[in-house]
Subunit: 475 residues, 2 copies
């Protein structure tokens, strides 16, 4: 306790009293994430205003062996930024570092503090007729530093790539408190090792991202949304390859929605109507966007025509108004709500080679049905990226207490099949702490050793986000 | 000598006699690159047939402290793969590892050996109506392993990114001989540190790339080429921003060609005609491509119209036939030939924020004119990426012997201005050995230390491509 008081006194010297929170009431919101999960009690929460203050705190922690976890907008899905339950950690929130440093429309770049909220950045870009394409459900609260640290995906990956592809420059406070300032707004730079790649997707375990130069694009001016109906996943995949061609790679979304997901959505949102005249086994929600005079309707018509001729497309509708497009997107949102209403269930975020998706899906459904015939598989998602949310609803009659062990068992069975198909158990969400066991299960020795070596090189005392991605050495 | 004989005996045991070259005649072509530069005499050249053999050789070298340099197609521009003059190195050529492992058009991926020639891979992809977009002058001889190790750029970066963005998976033999097999053909994968990023662009100093999974795209079906004329670089840059929008990001090239480059081209290729009715200070060679039914002519017409209205575009021509398009591209090739004919000159490969290019260009031209009024600046290139080849021709009357010191002095002056504008002295070509001094000149301490740390972590004995990018520790 006296040590803690000394620590807090030192932190207040560095940041001023406003920069340090210690009261239990004040700490509550830094212990919980959007799912309602609650982490341990932090030593304190520090809220630096600038990079120099971050560096001061980290240097102090380095000298005094204080473990530290950086925090963005609390929208992570793997408990990476939540304070540890076993060992008290200092939480470093980037929320006060929320300044746009420089918008440069001619260079298609935007330089920002790491604590900027994603939605804010998207709006800043749009004011200059530019576009920052990263888009995800949490964009109203997540921070760009967190997006970078988790290499966030989202709905536009198909066209614009993961966050890694959207970062031109990075500013990082390293675990010893030194600042790596790699903030050049260059679209090409082959001078030595590309160090920023180390910190993108490292979930705060190798350094604290304090600033970034982001890559912008022209703002789309026209958008078209369509719903396609297919007989099976094979047809969906062949149609995807056709859509890439017909739509000249202007596709921004290609989302798989099986029939029972649509039904779940219609239950959750009674205003939703069955979008086509008859029912079909599977659907695709597709979006195409362009920044100039492209005839998107002609492209989609070509897809409809060629898809029908090839026997891939059973039916389809092209939204004829913004309202109709929103109605189609509502299917996806209501489907998520429909899942939530079923109570505790297994949510996954896996990826496979696109060409393996159909066979994988069949084998995985078979394995789940064998293990638990009454479970329901809900497999939907960014199929154009090979990314499925292969979720499993336990039998509705199953008692609450029996759900977790069943879901854990089904997850293990599912991940075994993912591994057999050379897939990934975390396409977008990262590892954090929740997926660590499954991750380590199949990580080859040379990769483990190299990851361990990198962590040791940068953070030999294991003070920065300890136990995330890799376990601490002692464990 | 007896040591060398023992080494060669061991290598022959590992690879068979065909896999090891030791005769001076046989070694000649592994000592020279395409510019005609000649490196030191290698200990031998080993030509493994598969990844296991590469691993065996590297493990042997690791145990016996034999320095080793991997070699691709000898088209590097910074002497990174050329054997050292001071210390004899073993050359490891990937040329016999040239098998396509798997083409998967549905997954838009291509899995290959590192020794495959780029042109071959492009053709393999095209047979499946797919497209591997990496495109550069040396594509008939360069190997994909070399492209990956140097994070090659080329003419399609604007649309498709550098090589880094085209790699889904990587197989690497690490300096201790262990194999890192990260060959999953996944478009998304957030499981732990993205280790492949370490080796892309590391110029063979951290490991030997032996295989890769590459990302494919739909093959373009229609292409349009245009030449635009502008009053100055400011107009070119504003036109670029407009072109991104009007052409819906289907731009594949946007190349700056100043008037005197065009004149140089016309001197070198007398069949070339002045492409427009009157002369203009600067031109842009632009290409747009699409894989489906996009009306590219309408997009380019919109650009012509809006560009003219905004006073940015003085004149322009849209190629009306494939032959006319080739004639326009010939300007760029002939311009390179025209430069070559002037004798020894300074060639650079710099990048700047696009928005700084005009001011940078003015300041750099001023500094060069001050230092050497009779020198001629030839600044052209991938202006849409902020990448200029800012080359300098010395006064034609200057004696051969006086050229190198003058060019070196002018390069230093130029690089100082690049640094002042937060640019890069190597946008595409890398560091190797030729650019090491200039690179180290401005590398900040924390970055140097981290690069050094990474090198030491992976290759503590400094046996792999020693002295490339970073000097060896002893130096």
């Amino acid at each position: 306790m006296s040590n803690d008081n000394a620590l807090i006194g030192e932190l207040e010297k560095l940041l001023g009293a406003r920069g340090v929170l210690t009261q239990e009431d004040d700490l509550a919101r830094y212990r919980t994430d959007w799912t309602g999960r609650c982490g341990g009690m932090p030593l304190a929460v520090v809220r630096p205003e600038n990079t120099a203050q971050v560096a001061d705190i980290v240097a102090y922690c380095h000298r005094h062996d204080v473990p530290l976890v950086p925090q963005g907008g609390h929208s992570g899905l793997v408990c990476g930024a939540m304070p540890d339950e076993e060992r008290a950690e200092l939480v470093l929130s980037l929320e006060r570092m929320n300044q746009v440093r420089e918008l440069d429309p001619l260079n298609f770049s935007l330089s920002v503090d790491a604590g900027c909220v994603l939605q804010t950045l998207k709006e800043v870009a749009e004011e200059a007729d530019c576009y920052f394409p990263l888009a995800l459900g949490a964009q109203g609260s997540c921070q760009i530093g967190g997006n970078i640290s988790t290499n966030a995906g989202g709905i536009n990956v198909l066209r614009y790539g993961m966050t890694r592809q959207l970062v031109l420059g990075l500013e990082v406070v390293m675990p010893d408190g030194r600042i790596l300032s790699h903030m050049r707004a260059l679209h090409k730079n082959n001078t030595g090792y590309d160090l920023k790649q180390l910190f993108i997707g490292a979930e705060g375990t190798l350094g604290i991202v304090t600033g970034a130069v982001l890559k912008l694009f022209p703002k789309p001016q026209v958008t078209r949304t369509a719903l396609l109906a297919c007989a099976d996943i094979d047809a969906v995949l062949a149609l995807y390859a056709l859509a890439r061609r017909c739509c000249c790679d202007l596709l921004t979304a290609f989302e798989l929605i099986p029939r029972h997901c649509l039904e779940l959505a219609m239950q959750a949102a009674p205003e939703l109507r069955d979008p086509l005249d008859s029912a079909h086994p599977t659907y695709v929600l597709m979006e195409v966007a362009a920044s100039g005079p492209a005839d998107l309707d002609a492209m989609i018509e070509a897809l409809f025509e060629q898809g029908s001729e090839a026997g891939l497309l059973a039916d389809g509708v092209l939204a004829s108004s913004e309202a109709q497009a929103q109605q189609l997107w509502l299917i996806r949102e209501a489907m998520l709500e429909g899942q939530r209403q079923t109570g505790e269930h297994l949510r996954t975020d896996i990826s496979l080679p696109i060409s393996s998706l159909s066979l994988f899906h069949a084998q995985a459904c078979h394995a789940i049905a064998e293990a638990c015939p009454e479970a329901t598989v809900i497999a939907y998602g960014h199929i154009g990226d090979g990314n499925l949310h292969f979720n499993i609803l336990p039998p509705a009659t199953l008692a609450e207490a029996e759900r977790p062990p069943l879901l854990h068992d089904l997850e293990l069975r599912l991940f075994e099949i993912v591994e057999a198909f050379d897939g990934s158990i975390s396409a977008e969400h990262g590892i954090g702490r929740l997926k660590q066991a499954a991750f380590l299960d199949t990580l080859p020795g040379p990769e483990y050793d190299l990851m361990r070596g990198i962590k040791h090189l940068l953070d030999p005392r294991e003070l920065l986000s300890p136990g995330r991605i890799l376990p601490t050495s002692g464990e």
